[in-house]
């Protein structure tokens, strides 16, 4: 059976979620759980206005973080994966720092980098950075020397090796790393946005709606944040499938 998201399974999953939500709303019957019938019009009404701005602020932070993380971690991962000596030097450090939940550095980052967007972006970049670094490094290490020798014998120098071997080898692994790390990134963003900003879905959900008991609006915010996660996930897995057809073909057999 093929797993994952396509139009049919996406619609079906969405329908099941809405039905479940509605049933739960009927059973619980409290203001903290309004029915989707009540929330949907609010979501549609708010999205082009205020909610849209919060959405754009969060999406912008995630996208900038993704770009920064890819731009720094991918080349570094390639270098480490191809140089056994450097890898031996840095591997212990990476092994120790990789599992640390980066969000615990939030206060430190706020103090050092100030309360601007920069600190939030830095925190999220840090999370994605380590994922990409590790996955790209391992993928680059798998490119065995015979492959490199063969391609060099076809005339490839450093530039062509990068263009025809390292780049195509690392793009799918960058995307895999992004797919598994954006979920965490959005979660951390939610927490980071609860303070020291006035824009962002985390701020909207907690400060602007939850704390003043505007529950339908809060759910509109929750929907927007879910949508952000979903769009990122679907886009990344689509790109992933497109850039590594050899993996897809294997899985279909």
């Amino acid at each position: 059976m093929k797993r994952g998201l396509n139009l049919t399974s996406g619609t079906l999953g969405m329908a099941m979620l809405l039905v479940g939500w509605q049933v739960l709303a009927w059973v619980v019957r409290r203001p903290i759980l309004p029915s989707p019938v009540e929330v949907f019009p609010v979501f549609v009404k708010l999205l082009p206005g205020e909610l849209g701005l919060h959405f754009a602020a969060s999406a912008g932070r995630v996208l900038v973080s993704i770009l920064l993380a890819v731009a720094t971690a991918a080349p570094l991962g390639l270098v480490l994966g191809q140089s056994r000596r450097l890898d031996r030097v840095f591997d212990p450090l990476i092994a120790v720092t990789y599992p640390i939940p980066k969000i615990i550095f939030l206060p430190v980052i706020y103090v050092l980098m100030g309360i601007t967007d920069l600190s939030k972006i830095f925190l999220i970049t840090l999370i994605i950075f380590f994922q990409i670094l590790v996955v790209v490094r391992d993928e680059a290490a798998k490119l065995h020397s015979e492959l490199i020798l063969s391609v060099r014998s076809l005339g490839a120098g450093r530039r062509a090796l990068f263009r025809f071997v390292y780049l195509p080898a690392s793009i799918p692994s960058v995307l895999t790393a992004l797919r598994v790390s954006t979920g965490t990134a959005v979660a951390v963003l939610f927490i980071a946005e609860q303070s020291l900003t006035v824009y962002g879905l985390g701020y909207y959900i907690v400060i602007e709606t939850y704390q003043v008991l505007r529950y339908p609006e809060m759910y509109a915010g929750i929907m927007a944040m879910s949508l952000l996660g979903l769009i990122l996930y679907v886009t990344i897995s689509h790109l992933e499938r497109k850039t590594s057809p050899h993996r897809t073909e294997m899985a279909d057999q």
Partner: protein, 259 residues
């Protein structure tokens, strides 16, 4: 003509694999290199291929000193070295893409202007057909048998019309029947194209079948390597001849003494 003159080489923190080693391979020769593992057969191949640099000494091909991999030297390894994310077709055309990437700079690619895309496609088409792999063109390496992967790797090299073909145990991972078939294909091709070829093998029968000359390397340092003429190259049917058996025994003896 390939001239290896007084070449020394050692891997880092290891004793000399070659010291003042010399060898001449005339144009059109089909040389088989045989020897125990660790004697430096593959290293010699990589040195001639310009993939590693000698510590001292000089290697020239047709009078030109070797600095880097030569555009017209082809290399086929035991592990085919195909790109796992590219189809048979895309792997076979890789060398041409690399040439196009650099343009005719005479360094990474021959100085002659690159062919049109049509001519290039025809060349790839021709070699895939010739190696009987054209019906697999849209498959990825992981979907192929070992033999099919090796056919793809050979096609990829021949598409670049090399005048020197270097092979490192190209067929040793293959079934006997497919191995013989590919050996015959290589002998035909070499006769047809007038290529010089150097094949490293650990198989005496293969060396006798492929090599018009056989270089027996006995120990590291290359000092006591011995060149032997072989009149039986390409003649599969004569295995029962006394002289053939004699030569085979002689080779076996030389190799046994060295280990």
């Amino acid at each position: 003509m390939i001239k290896v003159a007084n070449v020394s080489f050692a891997y880092p923190a290891q004793p000399d694999l070659f010291s003042s080693f010399s060898l001449e391979i005339p144009r059109g020769t089909s040389l088989a290199i045989i020897g125990p593992s660790g004697c430096g057969k593959s290293t010699l191949l990589y040195l001639i291929g310009g993939l590693i640099k000698a510590a001292s000494g000089k290697i020239t091909i047709d009078g030109v000193p070797l600095q880097r991999p030569r555009p017209r030297t082809g290399l086929v390894l035991q592990d085919h070295g195909l790109l796992p994310w590219a189809t048979v077709w895309d792997n076979a055309i890789l060398g041409l893409k690399i040439r196009r990437f650099y343009g005719p700079d005479g360094k990474h690619a021959p100085p002659a202007p690159t062919d049109s895309a049509d001519v290039e496609n025809d060349a790839v088409e021709y070699w895939l057909k010739r190696l009987e792999i054209d019906d697999q063109r849209d498959k990825y390496p992981a979907q192929l048998s070992r033999g099919q992967r090796q056919r793809t790797a050979i096609a990829r090299t021949l598409v670049l019309s090399p005048d020197l073909l270097l092979m490192d145990e190209p067929f040793s991972a293959l079934d006997a029947a497919i191995r013989r078939e590919l050996q015959e294909t290589m002998i035909d091709l070499q006769g047809e194209r007038g290529m010089t070829s150097v094949m490293v093998t650990h198989d005496i029968e293969e060396a006798l079948f492929i090599g018009s000359q056989i270089l027996v390397m006995k120990t590291a340092a290359g000092g006591d390597a011995q060149m032997i003429d072989n009149a039986f190259a390409g003649s599969a049917g004569d295995n029962s001849l006394g002289e053939y058996k004699h030569l085979r025994e002689q080779l076996r003896h030389m190799l046994e003494r060295s280990t």
